[in-house]
Symmetry: C2
Subunit: 214 residues, 2 copies
DNA sequence: TCGCATGTCAACCATTTGGTTAAAACAAAA
DNA sequence: TTTTGTTTTAACCAAATGGTTGACATGCGA
């Protein structure tokens, strides 16, 4: 499973990478405030002082991890969207690529969710900055594909914004609640990876039929 | 908006209720570890010592808040599911009721998500206990309705477990990521409540067409 | 070899955090 | 009024937490 776009900022040294990974994991699980610097240091197998040597403070460390993760998360939209002839194929490819991305980068998504739970102040700041810089956010590309498919009469006339939100919801939510899903869903408990693949099928089937012309 | 099932355990005094509410809010936003006892005390407008007078420790407070919230959350499935003649109506009523429940109890859902992010150890414990006691978890009722609708030929032959998970995903996820949605989605920014209602329509439309026979 | 920049660490510090205590209000029965 | 039990509070404490420091290592060009 090769990464599209590296896991860490390019200029990082080995130590910085270790710290970054450990911090991402810890922030993703415990949230900005719940995370413990000592826990990050332990997971990165370095002295706590190193954290402050490389990333001044907890706040700065969080900011760096969050900013990079958000760029990565946003970039995933475009990367998951190949050039397919039909909308049907476009949807299939997107679900496949996007779900794979989350499977390989669960912590990134957890961090995004965690920020939302906490009120999303950092998130709002970064989003607005992105919006100003690029004039529109990445999910836009998906919105446009759906608009085009509607215009071409390939699918029913649906609200593209709502539809995109629904697609993302279904692709992400079962990862968010993975522990619950593992307990409740027999198939997920037995083999998570297989379950994820089955879920791709189901999602495509459900959403495609939900959009297709009668 | 009347509550089906009270917001707090019945036997609570006024002070306990204040504490419970404040704790739920704080735990929902910051997570089990990120939450601060002082912040809960401040929000409940009481002395910090009262927290320990009524709920011994942070751990016990969290357990009590979590256990009650989870029962409430699970009960919402059944409560949102009226007795409708067709599956079409059943789906409509469920989405409507369930989304309303989350709108009125966002913190409860946030707490569930937060637990999942953190690994869901408390969640797993409680779920398993419920499973043993009741032989099946509440989402079961929805699964059964879908199975019945499939058997009756009212909808396409879909996997009911996957379908339920998809319905729940779409009903919950936009609440989970409300801060993000508010920034990205123009309509949500303007009037959230109206957006939620529009979303109910969209979700019903998308999912019903996704399930209906061609 | 020396000097200097970069990394690394144990020990330390100030503040915050969960939690306790002993005394004071308060209320209702005796 | 006295007594008895509950509720509330300010002051306090030990441990944990984010953050600092000064010494020590390591590599490398001069």
């Amino acid at each position: 499973m090769p990464d599209a776009g590296s896991q860490h900022p390019d200029a990082y040294s080995d130590t910085e990478r270790q710290i970054f990974d450990a911090a991402l994991q810890e922030f993703a699980r415990k949230g900005r405030d719940g995370a413990r610097m000592q826990a990050i240091a332990d997971a990165a197998d370095i002295n706590k002082a190193m954290l402050h040597y490389y990333f001044r403070s907890k706040e700065r460390l969080y900011d760096e991890v969050f900013a990079f993760s958000m760029r990565r998360f946003m970039a995933a939209f475009g990367e998951s969207l190949g050039a397919a002839p039909t909308f049907r194929e476009t949807l299939r490819v997107f679900i496949d690529g996007y779900v794979d991305f989350i499977r390989d980068n669960r912590a990134v998504m957890q961090l995004m969710v965690s920020e939302n739970l906490a009120g999303g102040s950092a998130l709002g700041r970064h989003l607005r900055r992105m919006q100003e810089a690029e004039h529109a956010l990445p999910p836009r590309v998906l919105v446009e594909r759906i608009e085009a498919a509607v215009d071409a009469g390939e699918i029913r006339p649906v609200d593209p914004h709502h539809t995109v939100l629904s697609v993302i919801s279904t692709c992400l939510f079962f990862f968010v609640t993975e522990p619950t899903v593992r307990v409740i869903h027999p198939a997920a408990r037995a083999d998570w990876s297989e379950f994820v693949d089955a879920r791709k099928e189901h999602l495509f089937d459900l959403i495609y039929h939900g959009l297709a012309r009668p």
